[in-house]
């Protein structure tokens, strides 16, 4: 009798505790079509939660976690002054002119370290190789001891390497305002990784940084203003920076502007393909090792404005292709010496420091193709 009672008790316990399991399964039988969604209009929060400003707006071109690209610049003419021809009157009094093409691999990675609503922090790295292939010497000075000979020998032999490690912090200050900090260390020059290449000197690392404060009034617009220390003009400069990202109401077009670095008009065909039309200012200072220039510690101040069309399209899943074509306009290709101190200096827009050598590059077409793993 007692055993029977205990068995009943066990059955009772089993039914009591397992009831929720069956009730969950039964709940799936609810017909969704019959659900009245209007009941979800009025809700109340269970406790307080702070809302944060989103780092993006609608329809911006996708952020890239990893990018592998190939860059090609068509035959450009390089006209160089003789070394020491500082004054504008003498600029190209005894010029040498040559032509060459540039091509090379471009790798880019941006990895989120912290990716939360209240802070976004990512670190990244860039490796761009520019190879030179001299095609034809157009003008050769009579004396044949022009320094462009030495410059081209070095560029042909070693090419130029651009590399950086960077970090970006996006900090929402409220639901509608934010702060952005970007910092970067660059190591650039005519060095490489092959046995016969020059080795980079860590003392030539250049640092850049930007700080911006901005607002995001709604999902289709964000703006920010700030200050940047940059080498985009080829040499150290401090300039104001303005961000202006906008998407139209019909979400067919918009702007992506981070002036002066880049500005684009965006046309969205659908959620998987966009066209950007605009420009990007690219540049940095490159240490030239192993040259026979008489001044010491030579740097090539390289900067170019790329006016372009950039078509980006999803290939599959998170992999996008970007095809870029346009023209390269030279901004700076002059050569400086840092002298015995080997310390970089600030020339800005009004500095009077003389260049060691002045160079002009012609306007030429360029092409860039990249495969990109894009972020959520």
């Amino acid at each position: 009798m007692a055993v029977k009672s205990l068995n009943n008790l066990a059955l009772f316990l089993f039914l009591i505790f397992s009831a929720p399991l069956f009730s969950q399964i039964d709940s799936t039988k609810t017909k969704e079509e019959e659900e009245d969604y209007s009941i979800y209009e009025n809700v109340e929060s269970e406790g307080k939660i702070k809302l944060y400003c989103n780092p993006k707006i609608f329809d911006l071109s996708p952020n890239r976690f990893i990018s592998v690209g190939y860059d090609y610049i068509a035959n450009s003419d390089l006209e160089s002054s003789k070394q020491g021809a500082y004054l504008s009157d003498d600029k190209f009094s005894n010029p040498r002119k040559t032509s060459f093409v540039n091509y090379g691999l471009r790798l880019n990675a941006n990895i989120p370290v912290v990716s939360k609503a209240k802070i976004l922090w990512q670190i990244g790295g860039v490796y761009n190789k520019t190879n030179f292939e001299e095609k034809k010497i157009i003008t050769q000075p009579v004396l044949h001891d022009h320094d462009q000979d030495e410059l081209m020998r070095s560029l042909n032999q070693f090419g130029l390497t651009y590399s950086n490690i960077n970090t970006t912090v996006f900090k929402p200050l409220s639901e509608k305002s934010f702060f952005i900090f970007q910092g970067m260390g660059e190591l650039n020059g005519n060095f490489g990784f092959s046995k016969n290449s020059n080795s980079p000197n860590l003392n030539t690392i250049r640092t850049s940084a930007s700080a911006l404060y901005g607002k995001r009034p709604h999902d289709r617009f964000q703006w920010a203003v700030g200050l940047t220390r940059t080498y985009r003009a080829g040499e150290l400069n401090y300039v104001p920076v303005v961000m202006y990202n906008y998407t139209s109401i019909n979400r067919k077009w918009g702007t992506e502007i981070l002036f002066p670095a880049r500005a684009s008009y965006r046309r969205k065909f659908n959620s998987r393909s966009i066209l950007l039309a605009g420009y990007e200012l690219e540049g940095s200072s490159y240490r030239l090792y192993d040259t026979s220039f008489s001044p010491k510690n030579i740097e090539l101040r390289r900067s170019e404005l790329r006016l372009r069309l950039d078509y980006q399209r999803q290939l599959k899943g998170f992999v996008w292709i970007a095809i870029q074509a346009g023209v390269r306009h030279n901004v700076n290709y002059n050569i400086d010496s840092l002298g015995d101190s080997n310390k970089d200096f600030f020339r800005g827009f009004v500095g009077t420091q003389k260049y060691v050598m002045l160079n002009n590059l012609s306007l030429v077409p360029y092409f860039n193709l990249s495969l990109n793993l894009v972020s959520p």
């Binding site: 007692a2 055993v3 205990l6 068995n7 008790l9 066990a10 316990l13 089993f14 505790f17 397992s18 929720p20 399991l21 969950q24 399964i25 709940s27 799936t28 969704e32 659900e35 969604y37 009941i39 979800y40 209009e41 009025n42 809700v43 109340e44 929060s45 269970e46 406790g47 939660i49 809302l51 944060y52 989103n54 609608f58 976690f65 990895i111 989120p112 990716s115 939360k116 609503a117 209240k118 999902d219 109401i249 019909n250 979400r251 659908n270 959620s271 998987r272 899943g317 998170f318 793993l373 972020s375 959520p376």
Partner: protein, 154 residues
């Protein structure tokens, strides 16, 4: 006879512990069920349990009408063209989540109607009323996290 009674008692106690323990895990897992609001406040997601897995569908949109068509928003960015007329309200964007342990639900996916892309997703409950939703590509490091707060119907 005493030995028989004792063994029955042990059986019952064991069964009770088993069932009670299982239900406690079940209760922990079911804390995901309810109404949640992403940090941008633009939508509300109702998470429910179907079978042994958890799913979430959009039940409210702050801007329910498409600004271009002036009609109810549909899943116009879906890769599958046959789905592009399906209303976003009622759309299941969270799918196939299993409760693991330590307040984590994983093995699921999240759909972003903004770009028609499905991401791997893991959900963590930071507090009883806050979810950390991380959509990612392949590895968790390549992703983005959002906080969802719990809300209840008035």
């Amino acid at each position: 006879m005493n030995m028989l009674k004792l063994s029955k008692l042990f059986s019952i106690a064991f069964m009770a512990i088993l069932v009670f323990g299982f239900n406690q895990e079940e209760n922990k897992a079911d804390r995901l069920i309810g109404l949640w609001e992403p940090s941008n406040g633009k939508s509300r997601i109702k998470i429910e349990k179907i079978g042994t897995k958890y799913y979430g569908k959009i039940v409210w949109l702050k801007e329910p009408l498409d600004p271009t068509t002036k009609k109810a928003k549909v899943d116009k960015n879906n890769v599958d063209t046959s789905m592009r007329n399906v209303p976003l309200k009622g759309y299941r964007i969270l799918k196939d989540f299993n409760y693991k342990e330590k307040d984590e639900w994983s093995d699921g996916t999240i759909y972003d109607p903004e770009n028609g892309t499905v991401y791997s997703c893991v959900i963590n409950m930071k507090e009883n009323n806050v979810l950390s939703i991380r959509g990612y590509i392949g590895v968790k490091a390549l992703g983005r996290t959002d906080s969802w707060k719990k809300v209840t119907v008035k």
